[in-house]
Subunit: 338 residues, 2 copies
C-alpha cells in the first residue's frame, strides 16, 4: 500500500484533488497559488492557505519565533500577491505543545501580525489548540482583485517572455549560511540571511502586473524557478526556455558563491522561498512595461526567457548547450535529510 | 515564565487577541464563531478556521479516518451556521507523517468532502505537508449572509428567551460509549455514537434564525451549554438563567444515563461537539417562532431559560435551587487525562 513518502507531495495533492467536485462558483480551484471564487453577488474573492510545521518548515534553533510568524504569514500573502490580488484578511490556527512558553507563542504571533500589518492585512480569527509535539501554524488568507483582473498559471502564449522580480536564490543561500553556522561577517551574507528569514510578499508588484493586459500568467517563487515555471508550463500547455546567462544574480549571492565554490545559477534556479514573482508577458510590450516598472519599484524585473510551443516542460540553456536542472524543488515527503 | 498549560486555551487566546489591530473593514473580529468582514464593494463575508490534531481532538483507534474528516469540516461549517450565514467555500491544510498510508489520507479527505458536499460547500484549495508525528488538519471556511443579516454572540437583551436546537449532550455520551469500549447493542446507543462521530452542521437552521429579527444572538454548541452560553452572557453583558427541567433530553440519552447511573442534565449542560445552535429570541415572539420552526424542521427547538440583568454569568436552577456547573467546558491545554 502506498505511503505518503512513496508518492510525494505533488502525487498526494494530485490524488486528493481528483476527489474534489468543482461547482460553478469556483472559477479557479486547487492547482493555482490561490482559488478564485464567485460570491452570490458576483463579487470575486481569492483564498489560499499554508501550513508551517516545526521541524519540517522551520527550526527554532535557526530562526527566531517572530521570524517563523513572519515567514508563515508571508507565504500566504505571497500566494494572493501572485494572483495579482490584494490580500485583505487572514485567519490563523496554531497548535502548540503544552509546555510551550507563552512568550514564544506571543513572538510567533508578533511576527504574523507584523507581516500582516506590512501589507495592511487584518488577522480576523483563528484557533488555538494543543499539539502533542511540534508547533503547527496554518495561515488562511483571502483577498480580492483590483479592477476585476487576476492572474493565474494558465494562459501564457507561445512567444511570451518569462520574467522574474528581484533576485531569486538569495533565500536559499541565506538558509545554507544559517545551516552551516557560518559567521555573518560579510555584509552581503546578512542580506542573504535576511532574504530567508524576512522575505517580502510582492503585493504591490502583483497588483501592478494584474493591471497590465499584456501580462498573461504569474506564480510566486516558493519552490524555485525550475519547479514554479514548470507549473506555468503545465497549466499553459507550453514549454519554457530560460537563458541562464540572463538570470539576475545579486552581488551578495555572487560573492557568497565565489567564496564557497558554488554555482549561483543553480542556486537561483532551484532555491525556494524567495517569494519573488515569476510571470509571462507578451513580447511586443516588453519596453513600455520595463519602463513603467522602473518608475514605480526599486526592485529589478528581469526577462530570463520565453514560452514556446516547440517542446513541453522547462529547458535551461547556456548559449547553445541545454542545461537540465537536476533538482526539482522541495518535496516535503521525499526529502531525506530533515 | 508562563507556559501554555498555565494560562489555558482561553487565557492564551485572550493574550494573543489583545495583540491584534482591528481595522474598519473588520466588523466582527476574533471572539465570535466567525469573523464578519467587509470587502471593498461593501459585500459582507464571514470566515473561520478550526484545527484538529491527532491525539488531542481525535484518535484513529476510536474514530474512522472518514469520520475525522467529517467532524473537522463540520466544526468549521457549524461556526458559519451559528453566524446565520451560508458557508460557500473551504480550504484544507493537512499535515501527515511520512509513513501515513495514502488510503487513510484519502479517507480523511473523503470525510471532509462528504461533509462539505452535504452543505453544498466547495473545497477550493489547501496545503499538504509533512508533520513529524501527529496528523494535523486545519479547515478554514467562509461564506456570506443571506439578506444581509447575520448573528453574533452580542446583542441579547434582558428578558430574551434562551433556546437550543436538537438534543445537546448526545455527542458527549457517544464519546463516553466509544472510550469505554461498551458494546453498541442498544439501538439508542448507536444514535449517541453517531451524534459524536457524524455531527450535523445546522446551516439551514442558522439561516432561518438570521432571517427572524426577534433572534438576537446565536452560538454553536462546540464546548457545551455552560461554556457557550457563558460566551453569549459575556459578549451581551447579561446573565443567563437556565431551568434545568426544561433541557431537552433525548430518550437515547435518558436511557443511557439510566443504565449507567449518570445524570443526563450534567451531560446535556457540559457536553461539547454537538454542533447544535444555542440562541436568544425576544420573549413576545416565542409562539409564532416555534410554529414557524416546526413547519420547516424535524429537529426540535426548546426554550430552556432567559437572559437577565440581575446577575452576571450563567446560573442553572432546578426549581428554586441554584445548581452551579463545576465543569467549564473543554480546555485543550489544561486537560490532564489526554
Amino acid at each position: 500500500m502506498d505511503r505518503a513518502s512513496d508518492i510525494g507531495e505533488f502525487g498526494l495533492i494530485a490524488r486528493l484533488t481528483s476527489m474534489l467536485p468543482r461547482p460553478a462558483n469556483v472559477i479557479v480551484g486547487v492547482g493555482d497559488d490561490a482559488a478564485v471564487l464567485r460570491l452570490s453577488s458576483g463579487q470575486i474573492v481569492v483564498a489560499t492557505c499554508d501550513m508551517f510545521v516545526e521541524g519540517v518548515h522551520f527550526d527554532l534553533a535557526t530562526c527566531s519565533a517572530s521570524q517563523v510568524g513572519w515567514r508563515a504569514m508571508t507565504a500566504s500573502l505571497s500566494d494572493i500577491a501572485a494572483m495579482g490580488c490584494r490580500p485583505l484578511f487572514a485567519t490563523i490556527s496554531i497548535g502548540v505543545p503544552r509546555d510551550t512558553l507563552v512568550g514564544m507563542i506571543e513572538q510567533i504571533y508578533g511576527g504574523l501580525t507584523d507581516a500582516a500589518r506590512a501589507q495592511a492585512v487584518a488577522i480576523v480569527g483563528g484557533d488555538t489548540v494543543r499539539s502533542p509535539a511540534a508547533i503547527v501554524l496554518d495561515v488562511a488568507a483571502f483577498g480580492e482583485p483590483v479592477a476585476d483582473r487576476y492572474l493565474t498559471r494558465s494562459g501564457a502564449r507561445d512567444g511570451d517572455l518569462i520574467a522574474v522580480t528581484g533576485y531569486p536564490g538569495q533565500a536559499a543561500a541565506g538558509l545554507e549560511i544559517i545551516l552551516s553556522s557560518a559567521r555573518f561577517g560579510e555584509r552581503g551574507d546578512e542580506a542573504l540571511v535576511r532574504a530567508h528569514l524576512e522575505p517580502q510578499a510582492r503585493v504591490e508588484h502583483g497588483l501592478f502586473l494584474a493591471q497590465i493586459d499584456a501580462v498573461t500568467t504569474a506564480i510566486d517563487l516558493s519552490d524555485g524557478v525550475v519547479q514554479d515555471l514548470g507549473h506555468i508550463c503545465e497549466m499553459s500547455k507550453l514549454g519554457g526556455l530560460i537563458d541562464v546567462q540572463k538570470l539576475p544574480i545579486s552581488s551578495p549571492l555572487s560573492d557568497y558563491c565565489e567564496r564557497n565554490s558554488k554555482n549561483p545559477i543553480d542556486m537561483c534556479l532551484s532555491g525556494g522561498e524567495d517569494y519573488e514573482v515569476l510571470f509571462t508577458i507578451r513580447k511586443d510590450r516588453e519596453e513600455p512595461f520595463i519602463a513603467g516598472w522602473r518608475e514605480r519599484f526599486d526592485i529589478p524585473v528581469t526577462v530570463i526567457g520565453y514560452m514556446t510551443a516547440e517542446f513541453d516542460g522547462v529547458q535551461f540553456r547556456d548559449g547553445d548547450r541545454i542545461v537540465l536542472s537536476h533538482r526539482a524543488g522541495y518535496d516535503h515527503f521525499r526529502q531525506r535529510d530533515s
